[in-house]
Amino acid sequence: MHNFGFALSGAWQVLLAGLALGAGLPILFALGIRSLAWGAGEASVNPSGVTAPGPRRPLGTATGYLLFAVVVLGVVLGITFIVAGGFGYKMSFEHIYPTFIAK
């Protein structure tokens, strides 16, 4: 049952990578949305029933877009990863920032 061992060790790695990217990026994205909403200020309903926007919070808006940028960067890395693989290159993260090495 050598295949079973290979499958389990492979599955662990896929699960870890999947959690880091597949759950991590959407979580950052959700945090970005939360920041944007916070940055737009808290709306309040005044006694006459009219909704009035609260004071804006630029810090929240900035953080929101920063988080979106991180997510977009992650997606761009993902696409680069596919393309590089197709052209016979492998992305390496041993220098932390991605570098391409021929397979």
């Binding site: 599955a11 597949g22 759950a23």
Partner: protein
Amino acid sequence: MILALVVLTALAFDFTNGFHDTANAMATSIATKALRPKTAVALSGILNLVGAFLSVEVALTVTNAVVKIQDKTGAPKAELLADGGNGLMMIILAGLVGGIIWNLLTWLFGLPSSSSHALFGGLVGACVAGLGWAGVNWNGDGSKLDGVVGKVLLPAVLSPVIAALVAAVGTWIIFKITAGIAARFTDKGFRWGQIGSASLVSLAHGTNDAQKTMGVITLALIASGHWSDLENIPLWVKVSAAVAIALGTYLGGWRIIRTLGKGLTDINPPQGTAAQSGAAAVILASSHLGFALSTTHVATGSVLGSGLGRPGATVRWAVAGRMVAAWMITLPAAGLIGAVTWWVGDAVGGMAGALVVFALLVLASGAMWLRSRSGRIDHENVNDDWDGSPDLAAVPTPVPAVAAN
């Protein structure tokens, strides 16, 4: 001449592969109305086309995972070429027919089953019939994850679980984070999140699945002596396979999209984002690690996971159970069809055999297409409520698609 039939059948398989798998990328975006149905399939089709061209990596050894008709370099085994390659081509043809018929049958029932497993099943069946049990690579040689067990069975069990776990965790945390935020922020934000992540899945699908057809066609070309380069794939093969999978995707397997988007669980945009990101990450990570898995199993697992992760969501376990049942019989069923096809082709023999097989394929496909006209599902009713609609998998009598009005 047999070669022409094999090429045509391989492209037909690629086409069914496309429309069978549109759902994997786009079912959630269609269900949450992040994209209009037609826009979604067009986007997915284009990305599949682009993806197919991006994958220039030679996929010539694709059949080695499950059967023993090629050596390690991708050249067909010498003993199979004794008759000018006709025997080998009959095996490939029968295998493809097994894959296509199983794909169409599962589509008719609206079940998202794996196209790769259908192809592998068909090839395994045709090899058992043509070469005997020893013609199949059952368990690999022990050096890596390989063979029917390592490339098909184990990943089929593990990948939906992994994807479900990732999507469930993602969904659960997203709902914690965004609780109490005005809908105008979450709706717009997650709409883009969904489109982005679904696009990534489409692209990855194009790079993975179109390759398989390219590999099979090139194998047939080599077997018949029309191509000898083991490092490259003829350009026309690449173009035609890419176009076939893109057209298939654009046609859209609406029945499967409906099952995945509406049947399994009711999806909203944050869930769709989590499900599709999870699927994209798992597909990319596993193809990097050489862990062969089916896009379909991953996408289904992640949709299920997003249903489990959202507080208060219900998962229709009866639908999920039917899918899992379809997955389990995909390999043997496609294998059986492949084997029967090979026996028929072999009994008639030669060119006539290949023609008979091809005619049978056309007949079977036509019959299933006609059957699909009753109770049809297309881009207009794909999003109708699941409960109370006619059950696809249990329609003893045809249901008129349009009531008299």
